[in-house]
Symmetry: C2
Subunit: 385 residues, 2 copies
């Protein structure tokens, strides 16, 4: 391990991310060994003397390590500011919060746009090995170890972040006192794989993709990536939320035409797509969506999900949202059932919300109060209160 | 009107479609007048002396006039052979069945790839006026009139075909004895507009789109159109059907990579996309999806859907499918309620099926028996039995 530095992001040399590089590298699920792994991260609050008050937050597909503060590169506010901060449900007065950019990402951690180790000066691009959710967690484990933390008080995350929470609880059960997988599943469904595939096809179809070597051409597959983002965005919101926000409101009453943003919902989607391409790397999008598709906890245990958690002492809180059709309640319930089957300590809450999958990122007091209460109870059991 | 001919399809000169050209043209909702409208169609069975046994079938977004026989151009079997034919629910021994390619389509009716009337020898392309569902119905009315038919025994269609049925029942109530809108809605929802917009953006992003003038360049935006079709295809099937068919079955067990058809569901989607571009014109796709988006029957009646049907004597059968999430049962129920509100004669059946929106095209005996029974009852009332 190299000392902690403010490494430069090779793609945005003007921005510096807090990061640590592990020179021993990482053995990946695919069989390849990744030399020298960099993990970009942020921390909030203070690690106590016993190093027993750390909470790891895991981000979703297009998230980053800036969970509780403005991202200096994108200018966007922290993505979970509702939840993480002084006095908030994940109280940074009390807990030491760590959030790392995932392996394969594009916000400072090793990923497709990191320099290829062959010293060509080119990024990995599509040569970057296909990582898994478990590989992401192994990289996070290196970071957590580097703080001298042997057991995390809690691991919390939504969507793909929830998959990482589940991977933590199965790979390192002794290192996780409490686990909170939110709006997630133990496997990616055929429908979800299909939606991801639309996005990947749109990126690959962009003439500026150049088989993934767009960096060398000084261009980016922006339109393809925008279509991918637009597709994903529809799956993040409920029909009710979309209708409430836009209904059939026309942008331009005069004239009819097939192309152009005639309906308000179209101009909103186009904005979602075009703003996204400014902050995200297409190759990372390909790698990370595929990592989600490959996630299937039960498959690693002969199809019996409960076996993944056998003997676990971790306390689980599972949260789903009633209008989430991307990761529906049934998928969280299946995890709860599997945990019950191995007599694990598990709470399961379906939050009533009409905001769809996005609800996990939004102002949902029922969710936030549930998490606050759960963490308080766990803190008591962990002797932290 | 010119006499009935076997006109050549300008895009596929080797194929001839049965069609009729109306030299008076058509006044469109957008205010433009379309000169000389050609309607390509097929008929099955025999029109009786009273001309009282005609059933018009309306096709969906990517359908065509070959409802009960193989399409000579694509080689695909008739798209509603389960329903239409001798002895079938729409019995061609008994009824004279007409099915026409929609205005704006690409199977012989006037559409974006018809020659532009400016005698440039180029197709209309994106200059083709934005037609509406009602315009499609007006073109069908010219065809029906040309047979000397003053009242159709029934108008039947699913999805966008169901929108046309509703438009028939509101534009020409006296000309429709019975109406069967299947798996449809009285307006296109924000979510459905959003899914269409993904497809349009993917087409417009294809470098071979050339702003819609791809014909002049001798190319076609095949990858963009394929992404559009793949996106739409996901919305046609239920999560259950997709899981039953593919689950998480891997195509290639060895090796992991972000691109390529690793999962069976991906190769299936890619096949759906690539086979579609051989038979469909991208500009037609843009025009027709937009026509669906613009459909909103209540909006034309100050937001009161029932007013669209005030005083109607038409007998309605509304059919929805329980797992259809593109045109959910609630939307059919809303139409039934509006019809009840104006004391119309209406039956409403939700068919239990786990096949999603696609169910209206598939082997669904409950649907087929319901339609058979409804038509038999109507035939009795119409004095056809």
């Amino acid at each position: 391990m190299r000392g902690r530095t403010m490494d430069q992001n090779p793609a945005f040399p003007e921005t510096q991310h807090q990061s640590v590089t592990f020179s021993q590298g990482l053995a990946l699920d695919c069989g390849q060994h990744l030399p020298a792994v960099t993990v970009a991260y942020r921390t909030y609050g203070t690690l106590n003397a016993e190093k027993s008050n750390a909470i790891l937050i895991c981000h979703a597909l297009t998230g980053d390590q800036y969970v509780a503060e403005r991202n200096p590169e994108t200018g966007k506010p922290g993505w979970w500011e509702y939840l993480v901060g002084p006095g908030k449900p994940v109280d940074t007065h009390k807990y030491f919060v760590i959030c790392a950019n995932v392996l394969g990402g594009c916000m400072g951690s090793t990923g497709p746009r990191s320099p290829h180790p062959n010293d060509s000066g080119q990024p990995w691009g599509t040569d970057f090995p296909q990582v898994t959710i478990q590989d992401m967690v192994r990289a996070q484990k290196l970071l957590v170890d580097s703080f001298g933390i042997t057991r995390l008080f809690a691991v919390v995350g939504g969507s793909m972040g929830g998959m990482q929470v589940l991977a933590w609880a199965t790979l390192y059960p002794e290192a996780v006192f409490a686990a909170v997988p939110v709006a997630t599943a133990s496997y990616h469904s055929a429908q979800n794989i299909a939606f991801h595939e639309i996005g990947r096809q749109a990126i690959a179809a962009d003439p500026f993709f150049y088989g993934g070597r767009y960096w060398g051409e000084g261009v980016r597959p922006e339109r393809g990536l925008a279509v991918a983002r637009m597709t994903a965005h529809i799956t993040y919101v409920s029909e009710v939320a979309l209708t409430r926000k836009f209904g059939r409101k026309l942008q331009h009453a005069e004239g009819l035409s097939a192309l152009g943003d005639q309906f308000a919902v179209e101009s909103y989607l186009q904005y979602q797509g075009s703003s996204f391409v400014q902050r995200f790397d297409a190759n990372s999008y390909l790698t990370i969506t595929r990592a989600m598709d490959l996630f299937d906890l039960a498959a690693d245990h002969h199809g019996v999900l409960g076996d993944a958690f056998k003997g676990t002492k971790t306390r689980f809180l599972l949260v789903s949202f009633s209008s989430d059709w991307l990761f529906p309640t049934a998928q969280s319930r299946a995890i709860a059932r599997a945990l019950n089957h191995v007599a694990a300590n598990v709470s399961f809450v379906e939050v009533q919300s009409d905001k769809g999958h996005d609800a996990f990122l939004l102002d949902e007091p029922d969710f936030h109060n549930t998490l606050r209460g759960f963490l308080a109870g766990c803190a008591e059991h962990a002797g932290l209160a």
